[in-house]
Symmetry: C2
Subunit: 231 residues, 2 copies
Amino acid sequence: IIKLEDVKKNYYLGKTEVPALRGVNFEIDKGDFISIVGPSGSGKSTILNLLGCIDVPTAGTVIIDGTVTNDLPEKQLTAIRRNTIGFIFQSFNLLPTLNVVENIEFPMLLKQGNKSLRVKGESKEFIDFLIEEVGLKGREKHKPNELSGGQRQRVAIARALSTKPRIVLADEPTANLDSKTGEEIIDLMKKINRDLDTTFIFSTHDQTIVDIADHIIRLKDGEVVENRKIN
Amino acid sequence: IIKLEDVKKNYYLGKTEVPALRGVNFEIDKGDFISIVGPSGSGKSTILNLLGCIDVPTAGTVIIDGTVTNDLPEKQLTAIRRNTIGFIFQSFNLLPTLNVVENIEFPMLLKQGNKSLRVKGESKEFIDFLIEEVGLKGREKHKPNELSGGQRQRVAIARALSTKPRIVLADEPTANLDSKTGEEIIDLMKKINRDLDTTFIFSTHDQTIVDIADHIIRLKDGEVVENRKIN
Ligand SMILES: Nc1ncnc2c1ncn2[C@@H]1O[C@H](COP(=O)(O)OP(=O)(O)OP(=O)(O)O)[C@@H](O)[C@H]1O
Ligand SMILES: Nc1ncnc2c1ncn2[C@@H]1O[C@H](COP(=O)(O)OP(=O)(O)OP(=O)(O)O)[C@@H](O)[C@H]1O
Ligand SMILES: [Mg+2]
Ligand SMILES: [Mg+2]
């Protein structure tokens, strides 16, 4: 469902070139539960941003669900992001003026073909289910600055899952969670992966996620140094 | 060096009362290397904010270095924060317009009695030492949005250590770091703890820090359920 072909990404600091990815190649199958691991600064978030169509490579090709995304116009990239992908950001990126429920519902309202400004029926039930599963029942009316670090992370997680996207990109989703809460979140994702055949791509330092993944890609200094399937 | 006596903290959401701390008691000795552990939402950051004089308790007494902080005027609280305490925030709180070096130097320029607007001599050497120790050599000119999540966390760590404060409060300092980088950071802190008798208070989910700590306080729903010294 995803293919990276010789992908390079350079950032520029004034005249200095910072090579974040130096030629990355791998394939991800539909329904994969895959972890991308590697030291801090090795390029994990950069890869997720390319997969999430939030950024474009400096060189090489990114192919998502059969479509080459490199030169797509912004309008089409936005459509892919909204209809295919759920993103859990490393720094959460919640909307500060919206409360927990409103933050989780937001992507649903943005989704193409959604003509209503309200979330009702089965969609509303699924959101209530997610709020309970991530342990935030009773905190629905809190705004992000009225939540603990781990609670904000869990809102970001529920938000990414709320539209039942085909691909979930999770950037260190358990970094701010104690091991018990983290395990509950991972079990939830495993369940969704099995029931809905959702593809999960994690960037993580959490050995618990790595142990459950069926495919591991290891990065070092912007290069893939290991690519191992575990079925 | 620190004492909490029956400390309570309530937040208010409209009319709803959210009891974050329900009566917390403990003492911390000078030079302690102590970890505060507990599930997400159990009150760890709230305690650190009270110890860091960023917040005041709803009830009970917070005593820092012999001084009761509850009813101090803002001017004195600011003086304690700047001269005694180094704080590593859970969400980093770096200044977005300053680069790595400028962010790390900033508390040094704020410190009472510091008449100069430049960091020179032995202070400058210590900052260069910290930048190397946290693995950010070569990244001095990057701004926060030009750094990875773990790199930002390491800038926050170096910044908190740069004034050689008597007490360091670290809120999940390794959450965004791979285990190897995290261990290097913890070794650096252990070294500073031994050489300068700095008191370190961690809120953490990282078992590696818990294993090295000589004092563990466990929280659950805003209460202390375990308080164990390990010398
Ligand atoms: N400004 C606020 N208004 C209302 N409730 C708040 C506010 N800040 C924190 N809380 C609540 O207080 C409780 C304790 O929060 P705290 O941030 O101390 O938890 P924590 O142990 O640091 O959690 P984590 O491990 O997720 O960072 C949480 O349940 C949170 O929802
Ligand atoms: N906008 C930018 N400008 C310059 N350099 C950047 C920028 N964004 C990232 N980098 C650099 O690219 C490299 C890869 O960053 P990336 O965020 O992908 O790392 P990461 O593996 O996610 O790290 P972490 O585990 O710390 O989150 C880092 O060395 C970082 O300094
Ligand atoms: Mg990252
Ligand atoms: Mg916290």
